[in-house]
């Protein structure tokens, strides 16, 4: 029974990470109709930068802040320079482009920091809570993770629903041509969308780094899980991303606990296929089905 509880709690904390990555993917999908396959590599890169800062003597908080800031810049630059040319083109081009970016970032990270994974500090204690006589597989750091992700999701929701900037961004995402006719500088809104998504991704990277270690390929499973979570919730739906992330986190936690961690990516694949077969637009298809 304790194993089940442990797995559930673990599922919630990993689910929070998946939710953050899924949220990043959804933000980009909503604004530019692109699945950013480079998201995992981008957050890997920003985590490496943070790791460099911390290893060089900076505090955790500084490293955290640097990760977010570099995420913002990276996201903006990538959209403006690489993605803008393929935004109107067929889907295939954007897929290949983001895959190319993924490949390049992994290679660059290996060149700059080497291929040996390194450790990353956690914000809070990694010792599980003691309840009664047992130690749970849930730590103060996990609480921090879950709370931060939920807070970021809430902030983003507030931004989009209640601010004029958010209104502009939504207009630019839903109807770019009409938005232009209303004086919205659509290009800037798209860049901002990518920047915010990259920040969210960078956040996920820093939060998950203590457990997966920082290496060029160590964040690949996170990207896959984030993608599956986004699909579960519906690529158009930010709340769906969060819920999808949590659900997937739970499911994969049980798989890992009862079947072994090697099968997790395949389990994610199976779940992905099931969702795509049954409900391709996701559980929370927010808007009418666009050309999926």
């Amino acid at each position: 029974m304790t194993k089940f509880i442990d797995l559930t709690l673990n599922g919630i904390s990993t689910g929070a990470i998946y939710a953050a990555v899924a949220l990043a993917l959804v933000l980009i999908w909503r604004s530019t109709r692109i699945v950013n396959f480079a998201q995992g590599a981008m957050l890997m890169f920003t985590t490496f930068i943070a790791s460099g800062v911390i290893d060089g003597g900076g505090s955790y908080v500084l490293g955290f802040a640097v990760a977010l800031a570099s995420g913002f810049v990276l996201g903006a630059v990538v959209e403006r320079v690489l993605v803008r040319p393929v935004e109107g083109a067929p889907q295939l081009n954007a897929v290949i482009l983001t895959l190319g970016l993924y490949t390049l970032l992994v290679a660059l990270a290996g060149m700059i920091w080497g291929n040996t994974p390194r450790s990353f500090p956690a914000a809070f204690s990694l010792r599980g809570y003691r309840v009664g006589g047992t130690t749970l597989l849930f730590t103060p750091n996990d609480t921090f993770t879950v709370l931060v992700v939920l807070a970021v999701a809430a902030l983003l929701a507030l931004l989009f629903r209640r601010t004029t900037l958010g209104l502009r961004m939504r207009a630019a995402a839903f109807a770019p041509e009409v938005a232009r006719l209303l004086g919205v500088r659509v290009g800037r809104m798209l860049t901002l969308g990518w920047a915010l998504a990259a920040v969210t991704g960078a956040l996920a990277g820093v939060l998950v780094a203590p457990s997966v270690f920082v290496g060029p390929n160590n964040f690949d499973p996170i990207l896959i899980s984030g993608f599956v979570a986004a699909v579960i919730g519906g690529l158009d739906s930010p709340p769906g991303a969060v819920i999808g992330g949590l659900l997937l986190g739970l499911a994969l936690s049980y798989v890992s606990g009862y079947e072994g961690s090697a099968l997790v990516p395949l389990a994610a694949l199976v779940i992905l296929m099931i969702v795509l077969m049954i409900r391709p637009t996701g559980l929370f298809a927010a808007t009418r089905e666009r050309r999926v």
Partner: protein
Amino acid sequence: MEPTVLKIEELTTDYGPIRAVDHVSLEVPEGSVTAVLGANGAGKTSLLRSITGLVRPTSGHVRVEGEDITRWPVEEIVRFGVAHVPEGRGVIAELTVQENLRLGGLWRGREAMPLREIYELFPRLEERAGQPASRLSGGERQMLSIGRALVGRPRALLLDEPSLGLAPVLVAQIMSLVRRLTDTLGLAVLLVEQNARSALSIANRGVVLNLGRVVAEQDPQKLAADDSLLHAYLGF
């Protein structure tokens, strides 16, 4: 003679090998409506899209109060005071009515028209302010898109087939509304329509396009009476 707000000089737009707009020249003074008529494929929508920059003209000029805006980005043209109500209304379905309206004036900031005034013009919109725009009927959508264009206090207003899909009663309402607004706000209105008679009924000037070229430019009364011309170019 009222000052010219919108001046189009020899505007030409090509879609690859197809010439959609062929050396069109027009002037729209302040406080007046110019009706642009023509059959399907005559180039009316292309003309509007070329003016607002959704499509890059091949040659020619568009001037707004003297300023040459021909190759400006769309957003900047709009921010200069040219509002364009596109074909099909362009209502953003995922946003509420109120959000749609607010969008129209965000770039104007403080000087945008207060929503209160728009609601006075269109009480129906106030009733539905918080609802997603997808729930609106065709006529309500037309009101929304016109209202949205007005929030930004434009100097020039381009309307692309506002009567499309609307019942005659509604069409008459909207046309008279456009006329009222033109007079009270001093707008320069370019009204593209297939429904020639209703457009001509409120117009100061009438222009007929065919294959992208201006083939007739007259007093609206004369045009409306010229059955053979209308028949030749508009098919009825």
